[in-house]
Amino acid sequence: MAGVALLLCASVTPLNAADSRGISIQQTDKAPSAAANRGTYRALIIGNDNYSAAKGKWQSLNTAVSDAKAVAKLLSKQYGFTDVQYLENATRRDILLALEELSKKSLKNDNVLIYYAGHGFLDSDTNKGFWVPVDAEGSDHTTFLRNSTIRDEVSGIAANVKHTLLISDSCFSGSLLRTASRGIKESDYTEKYFEKVSGKKSVQIMAAGGFEFVDDDYRNSGHSPFTYFLLNELKTNNSPMFTVSQLSGNVERAVANNVEQIPESGVLQGAGDELGEFIFIKLDVAVEGIDPDKVKVNVNVVPAKPISKNLTKESPIKTKVVPIPTL
């Protein structure tokens, strides 16, 4: 099966067709082209707004759920993510089970994105960071999700797949990462570069803030500043291939220019990052000089399938459907 086919539906003849690491590219003299692997694009999207059950300490948020929904929608509609699991107001157990599930079903060439929007917490004594699930109990750290736990889970997923990206839109989320600039200039983003980094393993992180509080609602947009600019970049990006380094650089600048918050990006330490790049492939791009109706990008990613690896227990079913109440 072809991995990615970038087709320019104009009356031009493809100049060449590369097929390495499952790459299938049809290039024209007009269309931008680059490589990508053939894995499935999967995402686990978590949005936690409702902290009413969190025993007092945690106030409910306004935008985390809408952030998560918008990200999930954008990825599936415009970036070819065929397996998007969306968790709303997730408990600690929900998150861990979803990460476990994701790890089990992911395959070696997959591209896995994990997005979290919700409360974060930093223990100032130990400098350890946490995600705060909706069932957190006050200041009891044992009911949070420790960064080291998140790191372990993501590392487990990263071990199975080619590219992993963790995006954390929460306070103190920068405590998750180790900064590692890839030192690339905009002019370096050539087809050869995309081929090179798509073949190398990547385990990257984008965080809304370093060791600081982050805002909830940016100018009544219904989104946090970080996710607002993340969505903005992904929507307005007009390249068929877009690396996380490009994305994070733009988002960091945009956020820092507008609010008192500095996002960070880097790699997950010790998870096998080989300076590869998670590459976003946009399905609908404009090409200069070509009628937009005649530009089409087809991404033939492997359809998401249920878990196929050795399962030791039954998969959890999250959906709860009860009969409608009648009088």
């Binding site: 409702n50 079913i317 709860k320 009860v322 009969p323 409608i324 109440p325 009648t326 009088l327």
Partner: protein, 237 residues
């Protein structure tokens, strides 16, 4: 004809717009109720109890995030050997013996989960009792409110329940004349077995209680207790 009352709300239900990745869920269901109808015809009347009875229901519901809307249509018959519910018309009171009554319930409801597992709902309900072989039927229509909730026990089993009431509303006979007023309350509890992400079985018990007062001041009370078994097919849209 009854459906005419629900047209505006049906339109709202059908035209509900939705966000693609919101939690949009469409659910179709069927339900079989084995039920007994018993009550008291009030002063000068007899107590009554059905010998056989049951109803079959079909329903559809649509959930968008915390909001849901649903339509349930339920119909069945109750046979009374001996005394049955008396009939009250504008002409007066008529006793019923050895009768079969066809009952049709239509519920159009809208609910909202104000808490993660608890919702409040309104139910526009119509109950029509049609005395078979008699030129008489009686319709009780009202707006009810209620609360519903569920408790997941594990991945497969979920307890659910609901309670609600309909305040004083008119009872009309087959000539569309008001013959009295009535109120009602209902209580339901059951459990859902989740087969997979799309298939859900449920069973439980339900009781509905009706207090009617007719124009001649006769108070008729009855309740319908049912055991039910149902199936829902649900999917994201």
């Amino acid at each position: 004809m009854l459906l005419k009352k629900f047209y505006p709300a049906l339109l709202i239900l059908l035209l509900c717009s939705h966000d693609v990745l919101a939690d949009n869920r469409l659910t179709f269901g069927v339900k079989l109720l084995g039920a007994g109808w018993e009550g008291d015809n009030g002063a000068g009347g007899s107590n009554f109890e059905s010998d056989k009875g049951g109803q079959f229901a079909v329903n559809v519901s649509y959930k968008v995030d915390n909001f849901y809307a649903g339509l349930n249509v339920q119909q069945g018959e109750y046979e009374f050997e001996g005394a049955g519910p008396d009939r009250f018309s504008v002409l007066g009171r008529f006793s019923s013996n050895d009768v079969t009554i066809e009952q049709t319930d239509i519920d159009l409801l809208f609910g909202y989960y104000f808490w993660p597992q608890v919702s409040l709902f309104i139910d526009i309900k119509s109950v029509t009792n049609d005395w078979k072989n008699e030129p008489y039927h009686q319709t009780f229509t009202g707006l009810g409110i209620g609360a519903a909730g569920y408790i997941p026990m594990n991945d497969r089993w979920t307890l659910f329940g609901s309670i609600g009431f309909i305040g004083e509303n008119d009872i009309e006979d087959n000539t569309d004349n008001k013959v009295g007023e009535g109120s009602s309350y209902a209580l339901e509890i059951g459990t859902v077995y989740t087969l997979d992400e799309n298939n859900f079985f449920n069973f439980g018990v339900k009781t509905r209680n009706y207090d009617f007062e007719f124009r001649d001041s006769t108070k008729q009370e009855y309740k319908i207790n049912a055991l039910f078994f149902g199936y829902n097919y649900s999917f994201n849209i």
